[in-house]
Symmetry: C2
Subunit: 351 residues, 2 copies
């Protein structure tokens, strides 16, 4: 098996997961993948956090960052990515059963990822990295596990979901709720609210791109008697319907809306100032959904932040499109963190 | 009756309206309002063009621009605003009957407004002004009636609907189509696709505002067990359902998607360069829906353009919110046009 082959594995927590709300979830299963080998000290882990409809298969969505000599390097790192709590790719979520699934938060997602570590023998995390919802998890990793996590890389994300992102979420959920097939989440497996979820995805896809990228790519070009961009949008709607569960979509967008690093930590500023790790903050200059002002706030308040702009017309999705540039940014950050750590500790020869 | 009181009047075209598509519409009715008095030469008309879900009642939506000493001055101007073709406030549109309503364009809207002028005795239009869809009409007024229109003021609009705006339109139409009550447009008066239209309006309201305005106004404030912005969005959805027809919404957003000043005129650049009138181009710096690059294009190519930025965090809707500033911008433009016209013609004493 080559370094880049990986298969999904499953782990069931032997104890109930206690949620931020106080509720308990029993028999929680986590689907995860790993790349590379854990070193003898359990100290070379890298945690990759996926976005809203993402999967633990990092090869599929972040291939240009994963591989020998790349930002996430299986020759050096033990890379772990797990399907998040509430999703529908093997980890426990509302798609599993008809019983009401509890409200969950970003912190619950991170708590579950953390609960997987002893099973894998991981003692230290060199880096927690992710974009969008993955970036929210990276921030919470930094805050929830200061002694465990050595660096974080939150990309195209924010310290809290603001009204703008909440509104965009709510319009998507409303599209799902407006579909009679939704039945308050109690639909049969074969009769999901397809139309509603498709509309939700269409709204989302617009927010993930930009005026400029749509102009470059589609302009007013026509296809099949309509505009090309219309066909593209509808196709993306249908693609998501074929691969994602509407209950998970609602649960995860609600979890995103709970995102607020300041909750219970004395507010946003105090929370960000308390982050101890070196933090790579990446902003996409054309991001409509999480505009640069959000990452500027992160960079201004996190003491050891390094701020990088991914210059792209691709909007929010640039972190999944402009991957060679992102690979370079992350690689440079990791090299810098290593140099600084080496100089501080004096435990290895410094380059 | 004071200068600012106005009532809706109706006019039925005595001949069929020939659409851009070649189709003919018979017995077309126009609902309109006027303010001020037409002068003896029929030369003091000002045409105010409303936006997507707007009405001819300019007092309701542009009050701070309409009045003695203001940008639209009934003491000086004969102000006309008519409900656009395809709408549902008294002008012929798809809400009137179940027979299929033909596809219409911005030019058809302007053609209908123009057909009203002889009935009113209007010979010259001092200014054609409007924001968003109203601005598209203002541009077409300039192009379709170069000998009739003396100045145009397209605000927060574009030379053509680009993929970005088309995508946002299509996501809204898809929300309507996903509602089983839509029935391909053949719903009974009492059973419209309420949920679909509400979701469409929610999507639209987000695009009309900005990240910054939502942060200032709502942040993460809660209300009734949810976020305030969610309640605000849903309320706007319900308000539109109570006052607007889904068939009109579909017809008008499709008409907006046809917007392309270059069609049949040798392309966008040639069309814009052919505009003869002084043109006030107003851009809102925070406009997500019609971003400033669109108005910069208008200003760069229209020979007699004057470019003004409405500095606001309110996004696209700033033209309906920051009205005192807009009134000043339009007032200044009109004074300038008058000075230049006077200097050219030498027909009056120049200030």
């Amino acid at each position: 098996m080559s370094a880049l082959e990986s298969r999904t594995q499953f782990y069931t927590l032997p104890y109930p997961l206690i949620l931020e709300s106080g509720e308990q979830l029993s028999d929680v299963q986590v689907a995860y993948r790993t790349w590379g080998r854990l070193d003898g000290n359990g100290g070379n882990a890298v945690v990759v956090c996926h976005a809203l409809t993402g999967t633990p298969n990092v090869e599929e969505w972040w291939g240009p960052l994963l591989g020998s000599g790349l930002a996430l390097d299986p020759d050096r790192d033990f890379i772990i990515s797990s399907n998040i709590l509430g999703s529908c790719y093997g980890t426990t979520g509302p798609a599993d059963s008809r019983s009401p699934f509890p409200r969950i938060t970003i912190r619950d997602m991170v708590a579950l990822q953390r609960a997987l570590l002893p099973h894998l023998g991981v003692k230290r995390i060199r880096l927690a990295i992710g974009g969008s919802l993955g970036g929210m998890q990276a921030l919470e990793w930094g805050l929830m596990a200061p002694d465990l996590v050595e660096a974080i890389a939150p990309i195209a994300t924010s310290a809290q979901h603001n009204a703008w992102q909440i509104a965009i979420s709510e319009s998507q959920r409303s599209a799902i709720f407006a579909d009679p097939a939704w039945r308050d989440g109690n639909y049969e497996a074969g009769q999901p609210p397809r139309d509603g979820l498709a509309v939700a995805r269409m709204i989302a896809m617009i927010s993930y791109r930009s005026h400029s990228s749509f102009t470059s790519r589609f302009g007013r070009a026509e296809r099949d008697g309509g505009f090309h961009v219309e066909e593209w949008l509808r196709r993306h709607g249908q693609k998501l319907v074929a691969r994602f569960d509407a209950r998970s979509y609602v649960a995860l967008t609600r979890a995103m809306d709970t995102h607020d690093v300041g909750r219970g930590r004395g507010g946003t500023e105090a929370a960000l100032r308390s982050i101890v790790q070196p933090a790579l903050i990446v902003s996409v200059n054309s991001d409509v959904l999480y505009p640069p002002i959000e990452q500027e706030e992160l960079a201004a308040l996190i003491p050891r932040a390094r701020f990088e702009v991914l210059a792209s017309e691709n909007g929010h999705d640039a972190f999944l499109i402009d991957m060679e540039e992102l690979n370079q940014i992350v690689t440079d950050f990791r090299a810098r963190v290593e140099r600084e750590s080496c100089q501080t500790k004096g435990t290895q020869r410094c380059a």
